[in-house]
Amino acid sequence: MSVTDVRSATGERLDELAAGPAPRAALVGYLPVGFPTVPGSARAVRTMVDAGVDVVELGIPYTDPVMDGPVIQAAANRALAQGTRVADTLRVAEQVAGAGAPVLVMTYWNIVLRYGVDAFARDLAAAGGAGLITPDLIPDEGAEWLAASDAHGLDRVFLVAPSSTPERLASTVAASRGFVYAASTMGVTGERTTVGDRAEQLVAATRAAGAARVCVGLGVSRPEQAAEVAGYADGVIVGSALVRALLEAPDEASGLTALEGVVRGLADGVRGAVRAPR
């Protein structure tokens, strides 16, 4: 099977939004599984989708999340301390797969390696998952995953960074399916006051390298930032701001209310964006 034979659930959603009566970028929302609890994280994902998230990014809590800032680390640590297992992610993916948004799983690579690359792909596909975002796996090291994702029809979202050379942009774009994740800044996840010009330049360079769809993550937390990024990217990825809403709430119910409010603001930002011509 070649790459072009594999349908991309995430790509289709992004294309649908871009071609609709009011063309717009997608809002991609990240939440870790097992936080505040395993069933609570499934409820949080549904809340997030109902409030306007178009694509779900479900994080597997990991002991050594080197691309994550303090907010997501804190949530992941709590999830792990409560005994969250990798199998819980597959269960939550299955529970939320029908909620109305493609479900990508974000995972550090050792988790998949330990499970077995093909077995993980098989079980994720069976659970209705759309694919993987792999922050510490570059395509150069990903031969097993490229084969498994083709075999099981899954998206593979690799990252590009402001430091990526044109050659690396081209090879990463060629290996990706669904979209390419542009890290807006050199740094880890977390809220920032500005997203910066480098994100827009990186999106342009990634498109020039052949990418059909580029979503921007790292540092986006406020509606006006979401609107700005939605003006030039195919998707706006938000994590820490959503996790913070749950982290700072005294209980799950108020956490879900806070989450809904943050997502609505971001969704309005995405819908209100002035889109640059493609």
């Binding site: 999340p65 691309m67 690579w109 050792n110 390696l113 510490d136 150069d140 402001p162 430091s163």
Partner: protein
């Protein structure tokens, strides 16, 4: 076996990114450009005689190389009848350990790359002290990440780093040890990679670190090989080293990798014993996996989450190991065995009492390993000559005096034990 391992070339000059199934670059894309840049500068430096000259001059005039080898006959009696033991004295280097070899090499590369800031992780503090020293010498800004638990265990080394002008950042997440310090250093590097070099302290991490750090440490084995030949007229029967990340072991093993008659032994921290689950023995209690940019043996649970490691020695308290060691393990070229905290501390005491040398607790694991090998080693002598064990004494124990004093009950007066009526003490 050698041809299979190295594709026909000498094992000692094997190049990354892969060592058999191990190694690679499992890092965020944001770091790839910096790793490529580092590799380019490193290869250019290797081809430039002025780089080797400058490093050699620093080794000779600043570090104090060559470090001597010392025969330790009174200690050797505890290893076994007729076994000769030589120590490679990396403890006599400036800053007190082998770590300075690698740090000076990388610091010279940093200058060539035009970067102004270095960051590093440290467990026992030896690599942090060495990095802070090189930063002072070459006028670089320096930040050291250290697990909060380790800043407590190694308070003296924290003070040394600060005296040398470094900023020490205690890491308060996770187990607060070396693994967590590396995570924080990687986060800093991702954010500041354009101006900052991550001066990684051991033979792990993404390519080119395992190969490059090995090359900066191979001077240990090259010197020791010549020194043992001069002292004894033949190669040692075995080379023995402790293995945390594995830099001192790889440094001394390298010169002997292509001498199949020389047995290579790495001793890991067995902590409270493998069955206790409280140890840092990756080969005895781990499985292949990915951590901190490389595929190697790793302490992990069935989900792939990193398990906490334990050792009385902060420098060996690390859940993974350099990928070249994983390769040597799987191919059988080197053997890796665990040494418990108790065994290491007993060897520590023994070297102090028999030879007047206070070793680092890390190095005491190698000494305890030599004692473990004692009976086997007695059969290794050829042509009637006594077998020779070469042990890498990777560091000195100044930093460990408080830990050892507490271990041996020297800090508090012994509690007064009163006899019950009629009992004789």
């Amino acid at each position: 076996m050698r041809e299979v391992l190295a594709g026909g070339g000498p094992l000692a000059r094997h190049e990354g990114p892969y060592f058999g199934d191990f190694g690679g670059r499992f890092v965020p894309e944001a770091l790839i450009a910096a790793l490529d840049e580092l590799e380019t500068y490193y290869r250019k430096a290797l081809a430039d005689p002025s780089f080797a000259d400058e490093l050699e001059r620093l080794h000779r005039t600043y570090t104090g190389r060559p470090s001597p080898i010392t025969e330790v006959p009174r200690f050797a009696r505890h290893v076994g009848d007729g076994v000769r033991v030589f120590l490679k004295r990396e403890d006599l280097n400036h800053t007190g350990s082998h770590k300075i070899n690698n740090v000076l090499g990388q610091a010279l590369l940093v200058r060539r790359m035009g970067k102004r800031r270095v960051i590093a992780e440290t467990g026992a503090g030896q690599h942090g002290v060495a990095t802070a020293t090189a930063a002072a010498l070459l006028d670089l800004e320096c930040t050291i990440y250290m697990g909060e638990e380790d800043t407590r265990r190694q308070a003296l080394n924290v003070a040394r780093m600060e005296l040398l002008g470094a900023t020490v950042v205690p890491v308060t997440v996770g187990a607060r040890t070396l693994k967590d310090a590396i995570n924080e250093a990687l986060r800093d590097w991702v954010a500041n990679v354009e101006t900052t070099h991550y001066l990684l302290g051991t033979v792990t991490g993404p390519h080119p670190f395992p190969e490059m750090v090995r090359d900066f440490h191979k001077v240990i084995g090259e010197e020791a090989r010549a020194q043992v030949l001069e002292e004894t007229g033949h190669l040692p029967e075995a080379v023995v080293a402790c293995v945390g990340g594995g830099s001192n072991a790889m440094g001394i093993f390298n010169a002997f990798l292509d001498d199949p008659q020389v047995r290579l032994f790495g001793f890991e921290a067995g902590g409270e014993g493998i069955s206790s689950g409280r140890h840092s023995a990756r080969f005895s209690g781990g499985a292949p996996g990915v951590l901190h940019g490389a595929r190697s043996y790793l302490l992990q649970d069935e989900d792939g989450q990193t398990l906490p490691s334990h050792s009385v020695s902060a420098g060996l308290d690390y859940p993974s190991v350099g990928p070249e060691h994983a390769w040597l393990h799987d191919t059988g070229r080197a053997q890796y065995r665990p040494v418990t905290d108790d065994e290491a501390m007993e060897a520590f005491r023994l070297l102090c009492r028999t030879e007047g040398i206070i070793p680092a607790i890390e190095s005491a694991h190698a000494l305890a390993g030599a004692i473990q090998l004692g009976r086997e080693a007695q059969g290794w002598g050829q042509d009637g000559r006594p077998p020779v064990l070469l042990v890498n004494l990777s560091g000195r124990g100044d930093k460990d005096v408080a830990t050892a004093a507490a271990w041996f009950g020297l800090l508090e007066p012994e509690p007064v034990v009163k006899a019950d009526e009629g009992e004789q003490l």
